[in-house]
């Protein structure tokens, strides 16, 4: 019986939010999916290893779902992590992990494909593989078991899960998924004979890393080398990059869930990649270059998406949405189109901090001006130069003044703490900024409030800060306390992330292959849902490190050296190690770096090595300045590797590599 629903339904009366497990989203066609399974098509179970509400909106997963189901030779369904109550009920009743589309057992698929968006979900990955009835370690799996694949931003350091995941996919998924479907399909049609053979085949796909085909050697505690065991297995696995977003107008049929989820709205990706160069930001480093979607395609995707889904809100998503060349006209048209229909909300996540941004925000939030969020990330100009988040204090105050004067009452400010070179005056700088912000607000309304949200900084692989020793738990806690004390009695409210969770994230983010056993121990000790405060306990991680004979501080708080082989050195995001090291030195020297979209190339390596270009519609930076960098924005575009949308004129980097 491939449909487990009759065994699942009796469990639902006893669990929280049973609708998490029924599927039935608008846009799915379970009736068409079921008959597609069979002996010829590669069957993928796309898994988000967190709750349904967090996982369902994930755009990457939805894009792959559509692409695989559009193909003749593959079929895809989805699964999410059952909450602890459901997991217990499933284990007690002997019900394995299932898809929400047709309630098919996970082992009936050829591939379990995990999305890794955050490191603290790693224990959930192991738990779900186990709940599927598949051995958690890849060495214990037989040909009868599905292949366990993972993609997403965390795979840029795959080593912590190297003994648990069969193959990692690095970079954009739109093109590589076709290669995977072909090889898995051939394996299936050949009777799924040898696991080793299909893994060897997968390793030939550019962008695919099969960890079991590599040997790791250590020099004392340090990794000495990660070496492929066969000549046809690449020594370095380069990321995949989709050159032109216009060719991929996905998702075309965004799923509309029946229960409320995060980001519960139409989401249209307006560009991918970011070259602002914020040194703490892994997403900005690994997704280069900037590839804008043509304005007209954005309009079409918004118009058709709203009509099809019935949503009354659309988010124009990217890593810095106000940087989209056509942002003003797209927003203006959206607002005009929707007049008299009850209105459609537009949200622009990841906004720059300047008055231009507030101008756009005021267009789209004509009513319900509740809160506006800015992310200065650090409390002083000095530290913002270190992290290359080049926001002048005046930019922030102009933005905040604009917000309060135009009717917003609540401003939220995001900061990181534990940044390189951070001193107490930087922490106190956060308090000063917050006080000034509330003072500005009180000029307009007595109800003006300001929330300061502080996250602990975790240095991430493939960023200029990858060598930096993370602040320990006590140091982060001390800084948070310092900030809270400084803001006591003011109108600013402080929220902060648990420094203990930040520490565990540090273990999982920059660990090597040995950290896998730590993750396994945390999972076996009951540590699932580590992103949730109810599930997280740092002592489980520390006990596991101790049991494996590993020193947490060596992995987390130690500064790493230039000659050290980093555990992810065999995975390439295209950024030259020299560029990252130089940028790290520039950071320590408190020097900012301009955005290469609009200024000459500084040869980070991505465009030149991968023969890629920025794809942007406008040769100049958007109005309102480039986050107050004081850059000369009139630089001739001919020196930048940029292809301008619309004109199709190509300007190749003349200064690149110089």
């Amino acid at each position: 019986m491939s449909n487990l629903w009759p065994r699942i339904e009796p469990l639902l009366a006893r669990v929280e939010k049973p609708a998490r497990y029924i599927g039935m989203e608008m846009g799915t066609e379970p009736g068409n999916l079921a008959p597609r399974h069979g002996s010829s098509r590669a069957a993928f179970l796309l898994i988000y290893p967190d709750t349904y509400e967090i996982g369902l909106p994930n755009q990457g997963l939805q894009i792959l779902y559509e692409l695989l189901n559009e193909r003749d030779d593959s079929v895809a369904e989805r699964a999410y992590a059952p909450w602890t109550d459901m997991e217990s009920a499933m284990r007690a009743a002997g019900v394995p992990l299932f898809s929400v589309d047709t309630h098919r057992a996970a082992v009936d698929f050829d591939v379990l494909a995990f999305n890794l968006s955050a490191e603290l979900v790693y224990t959930n990955v192991l738990n779900m593989v186990d709940l599927a009835g598949v051995p958690v370690r890849n060495e214990d799996r037989a040909p009868a078991h599905p292949i366990v694949i993972a993609g997403g931003h965390c795979t840029y350091n795959p080593e912590p899960l190297a003994e648990y995941v069969d193959a990692f996919v690095i970079g954009d998924g739109e093109e590589v998924i076709a290669d995977l479907a072909e090889i898995v399909g051939a394996w299936k049609r050949g009777g799924r004979a040898s696991r080793e053979a299909v893994l060897r085949d997968l390793a030939t796909i550019p962008g695919v890393y099969v960890p079991s085909l590599y040997d790791v050697e250590y020099d004392g505690p340090v990794v000495r080398s990660v070496t492929p065991r066969y000549a046809d297995v690449p020594a370095v696995v380069d990321k995949r990059t989709v050159a032109d977003l216009a060719e991929w107008p996905y998702p075309k049929r965004q799923l509309v869930p029946l229960v409320e989820v995060v980001h519960d709205r139409l989401n249209v990706e307006i560009f991918r990649g970011c070259t602002r160069g914020c040194r703490f930001c892994q997403a900005g480093m690994i997704t280069r270059p900037v590839r804008e979607r043509p304005e007209e395609q954005v309009r079409t995707m918004v118009r058709e998406g709203l009509r099809r889904t019935g949503y009354d809100e659309v988010a124009l998503t990217s890593l810095s949405s106000a940087d989209f060349s056509g942002i003003e006209s797209v927003v203006a048209d959206l607002v005009t189109d929707q007049e008299g229909t009850g209105g459609v909300g537009v949200s622009l996540p990841s906004l720059r901090v300047d008055a231009f941004t507030v101008g756009i925000a005021s267009q789209i939030q004509k009513v319900r001006r509740s809160g506006l969020t800015f992310a200065p990330e650090a409390g002083t100009w000095r530290l913002r130069q270190v992290i290359n988040k080049l926001i002048l204090e005046d930019d922030l105050y102009a933005a905040v003044d604009g917000a309060y004067s135009q009717g917003w009452r609540r401003v939220k400010l995001y900061f990181l703490t534990g940044l390189p070179t951070e001193m107490d005056e930087d922490t106190l700088g956060i308090a000063q900024l917050a006080k000034n912000v509330t003072d500005i607000g009180r000029r307009y309304t007595k109800q003006a409030s300001c929330t300061v949200s502080v996250g602990g900084f975790v240095p991430k692989p493939h960023t200029p800060f990858q060598w930096f020793g993370q602040n320990g738990v006590d140091e982060l806690q001390r800084k948070i306390t310092l900030l809270r004390d400084a803001l006591r009695g003011t109108r600013a409210q402080v929220k902060w992330h648990d420094p203990r969770a930040t520490f565990a994230e540090g273990i999982a983010s920059r660990g090597d292959r040995r950290i896998g056993r730590v993750i396994e121990r945390v999972w076996r000790a009951g540590g699932t849902f580590q992103e949730w405060s109810e599930g997280f306990r740092l002592d489980r991680w520390l006990d596991a490190m101790h049991a494996e004979g590993l020193d947490p501080d060596w992995f987390v708080t130690r500064h790493r050296t230039r000659d050290e082989v980093l555990p992810w050195a065999h995975i390439a995001a295209g950024l030259h190690a020299d560029f990252l090291w130089d940028d790290w030195q520039q950071a320590l020297a408190e020097h900012g770096l301009p955005d290469c979209r609009w200024t000459p190339c500084y040869d980070c390596g991505v465009c030149t090595d991968y023969a890629l270009e920025h794809v942007v519609a406008s040769p100049t930076a958007p109005a309102g300045g480039s986050q107050g960098t004081g850059q000369d924005l009139t630089a001739t575009p001919g020196e930048v590797p940029v292809r301008f949308l619309g004109t199709k004129a190509t300007a190749v980097a003349t200064g690149a590599g110089a």
Partner: protein, 241 residues
């Protein structure tokens, strides 16, 4: 030309099958999305933050099914009631189907106050989910209904309170079937009760599956389905075009 006129409408819809596991609030959101997909010309409230004029009837608990749910809406334009089923049902999840619609009189009493009685069809089991014999169930019901009060523990706003459910019960009939199936008729005013709460008050029973089959508006000694009460006479042909 009735563009500016208010056109109140009452819809009847189902909630059957898998979709029973979504909440009342989720159903409301699904309907509101369907109204937008179908581009229904909803009337909006005046003021700073306009809201569509939509008001839902009695809540249906997560897990329960229904043949007879109702929602009232006000449209800015006249639409032939016979067309609602065909334009809305395709935009709704499987199991939620619009099965009736009428033009409503102006200022009709709100569903939540007007409905006074509901009927259920319930599959009964013991609280440990093991089966119960219909004969035993019949005896237990007979005994319980003879009592002056049936106190039961309910959860209200997260707290446990003891309430007497006896006044809620109008009729419970064990159906003539091999398994334990009952029909229940229950008051909703001044307060109602869930089938499971009533079964727990009667004995060591619970509902395996419950389906609301009717809602009734009782007025002046007569009772009507909400689609028959407070309706407006059909538009004459000449005005409807």
């Amino acid at each position: 030309m009735k563009g500016g006129a208010a056109n109140p409408v009452r819809l009847r819809y189902t909630k059957l099958g898998k979709v029973r596991w979504i909440s009342h609030r989720d159903v409301a959101r699904a309907l509101e999305r369907a109204f937008r997909v179908a581009q229904l010309p909803l009337a909006f409230t005046e003021g700073f933050s306009p809201r569509p004029k939509v008001s839902f009837g009695l809540a249906l608990s997560t897990g329960h099914e229904s043949d007879a749910e109702y929602v009232d809406l006000v449209l800015a334009e006249y639409i032939d009631p016979d067309t609602f089923a065909s334009i809305l049902t395709p935009a709704l999840p499987e199991g939620i189907a619009v099965v009736g619609a009428v033009a409503l009189a102006d200022r009709a009493p709100a569903l939540q106050e007007a409905v006074t009685c509901v009927e259920w069809r319930v599959d009964v089991a013991r609280r440990d989910l093991s089966p119960v014999e219909p004969a035993e169930l019949r005896t237990s019901i007979h005994t319980a209904l003879a009592l002056p009060a049936l106190p039961t523990t309910k959860r209200r706003k997260g707290r446990e309170v003891v309430e007497d459910v006896r006044p809620v019960i109008r009729r419970i009939t064990v159906c003539d079937e091999p398994s334990a199936v009952v029909e229940m008729e229950m008051s909703t005013q001044p307060r109602g009760a869930k089938p499971g709460e009533v079964l727990a008050a009667i004995g060591d029973f619970t509902d395996l599956r419950a389906r609301r089959t009717h809602q009734w508006i009782e007025r002046d000694g007569a009772r009507q389905e909400p689609l028959d009460a407070d309706t407006r006479p059909r538009m004459p042909e000449a005005c409807a075009s």
